[in-house]
């Protein structure tokens, strides 16, 4: 069984981003970029399924600028067999990415697509659901456990929902999006990073895939959130209780 893992190149999760003064967006010049953390979990899951003998091939796909090649090499160093870059300078929104991925799925015919549940830059949490809809496949979002049964043609997924957990059975082919607790991604070792440089990386474009990737949402402006006023340090518990009771008036 083949698995496709879409991955996104985003600002490293530890970076405190700065909003540009002209309100046009977030300043990404000279900022450290990395693979979206949820996508690392998706790659790890696919590689573990391969190691368990369930999956035969793991294909990492990234849509965006040429620099996404680095992210694909990272995925290959983690165990993906090959990479596909859908190369474009157009700003890609979730619906466009879902359409590009649908076209890649049509070419590759995987049984499972594993995505991160959201990218930590746009925080949209949409692409996996949209891809599933466009393909007409079932979806299991926010997965914390994935058990594939190829013989029965189904995947059993435990999902993190607001009140706790739920378990779904999906018919394959299916789309799964990962939550943080699905697994602990491994680190790429130096030999694996070297090997990854020799793995195949194919480049496609939205045009060759026949997909219109034009953004649907226009960003009017991007601003900093309101700053919180500086707080105070209290000396002890008694003073804290006094402040909460008499100054902030949040406790009785």
């Amino acid at each position: 069984m083949k698995v496709i893992v879409p991955i996104k190149r985003v600002v490293d999760f530890n970076v405190k981003v700065r909003v540009k003064a002209d309100g046009s967006g977030v300043d990404l010049a000279n900022v450290k970029m990395a693979m979206n953390p949820f996508d690392e979990i998706a790659v790890e899951e696919a590689v573990r399924q391969k190691e368990a003998g369930v999956v035969t091939e793991v294909v990492a796909v990234s849509c965006g600028v040429a620099a996404c090649q680095e992210t694909l090499r990272t995925a290959m160093a983690l165990g993906a067999d090959r990479g596909i870059l859908v190369d474009t300078d157009v700003e890609l929104q979730p619906l466009a990415v879902a359409k590009l991925l649908k076209a890649v799925v049509a070419k590759e015919a995987p049984q499972l697509v594993i995505l991160g549940k959201q990218a930590i830059d746009d925080d949209a949490n949409q692409t996996g659901q949209m891809l599933a809809a466009l393909l007409g496949w079932p979806q299991a979002t926010f997965a914390s456990k994935v058990v594939v049964d190829t013989a029965a043609g189904q995947v059993t997924v435990t999902r993190e929902v607001d009140g706790g957990l739920e378990t779904l059975e999906l018919k394959l082919p299916a789309v799964v999006t990962t939550d943080l607790r699905l697994n602990e991604p491994r680190y790429a070792t130096l030999p694996n990073i070297m090997k990854a440089k020799k793995k195949p990386l194919e480049t496609l474009t939205p045009e060759t895939l026949g997909v219109d990737a034009t953004p649907r949402l226009a960003t009017v402006k991007v601003v900093e959130p309101p700053k919180r006023a500086a707080g105070i340090r209290v000396a002890d518990v008694a003073q804290l209780v006094d402040k909460l009771r008499n100054e902030a008036k949040v406790i009785a």
Partner: protein, 310 residues
């Protein structure tokens, strides 16, 4: 113009998050219809009909909606989308699961987690873990939107007199089956809607310490209990306690962060609280930069003292 709001419920009770989504719909303006999809959920439709501001309740009741799986619910909404300018749901795990699927079926963008409405096509939403606010405009014929519940007050649950109209069910696609649902049982207020939250981090050391120290404090305050990712990953509490970018987004009156350092991803979930209290023994912890009241102290002494003082 008409707006359709997907009601969130467990086939018995209408969830409070729906009320916030109704308020957001009200800010856009137009006739609000609430869609109740489930199995044996007529009681929910009755509750929905009483929500102030709702003009109509559409009830779709069939056994194949018992688990409210995304596949069946999304095709149903797609079938009934005609005539609606906006389709909304609360940005809960259910809303986030279903609405992007609806948007893709309708070939429109989805606008996630809106905090404010500027006009019928312009909305404000957080990006980069809440470190920036983007104003986005959609020219799509239908705007599919999820609503950050803490960005909007709840609509009154009583006072409305909507008509309930039963609609025929859509197809059962049979692609997904709900096997089990294990919900965390708690007598405490729901985390996302609580007025006071006591939240614990890694520094508590164990699940036993978490319960022994924080439960009495939460009891005194009538508070919900929350946690940082570190506390969840260490197994102190179940993961639905997690507050942050990838957990729940909360905005209570009072948020007490106990032994939480204040990583970007945690702050994303709670920095809109009215009053933030941080109790941490590290005076340089980033949580103190957003705390209204900071106490540098050993939590194992401070928390019992605080509980006793209340």
């Amino acid at each position: 113009m008409k707006l359709l709001v997907l009601a969130e419920h467990d086939n018995v009770q209408l969830k409070a998050a729906t009320l916030n989504a109704v308020t957001a719909a009200g800010k856009i303006g137009g006739e609000i219809h609430l869609l109740v999809v489930g199995s044996g959920c007529a009681g929910v439709a009755e509750q929905a009909a009483k929500v102030a501001g709702v003009a109509q309740v559409k009830l779709v009741d069939a056994p194949h909606y018992a688990g409210q799986t995304a596949e069946n619910v999304a095709v149903l909404i797609q079938a009934h989308a005609a005539g609606y300018g906006h389709i909304l749901a609360a940005a809960t795990s259910q809303g986030k699961n279903v609405l992007p699927r609806v948007a893709a079926l309708l070939d429109v963008a989805q606008i996630s987690d809106i905090l404010a409405v500027e006009d019928g096509e312009t909305f404000v939403r957080p990006i980069y873990a809440g470190n920036a606010l983007a104003t986005v405009r959609s020219k799509d014929a239908v705007k599919v939107i999820t609503v950050r519940t803490t960005g909007f007050d709840p609509a009154p649950a009583e006072g409305g007199q909507a008509v309930v109209e039963a609609l025929p069910p859509g197809p059962d696609l049979g692609q997904a089956r709900l096997v089990t649902r294990e919900l965390t049982k708690s007598a405490r207020p729901e985390l996302a809607a609580a007025k006071v939250i006591v939240s614990g981090g890694r520094a508590l050391g164990s699940g036993e310490n978490y319960r022994q120290l924080l439960e009495p404090l939460a009891d005194k305050l009538g508070a919900a209990l929350g946690a940082s990712r570190a506390a969840v990953d260490a197994g102190f509490v179940p993961n639905d306690y997690q507050v942050g970018q990838t957990g729940k987004i909360v905005a209570p009156q009072l948020y007490i962060a106990v032994g939480i350092s204040g990583a970007i991803q945690h702050l994303a979930g709670m920095k809109d609280a009215k009053v933030i209290v941080a109790i941490n023994k590290d005076p340089d912890a980033p949580i103190f930069q957003v705390a209204d009241y900071g106490l540098v102290a050993d939590l194992f002494q401070a928390i019992p003292e605080l509980t006793a003082a209340l």
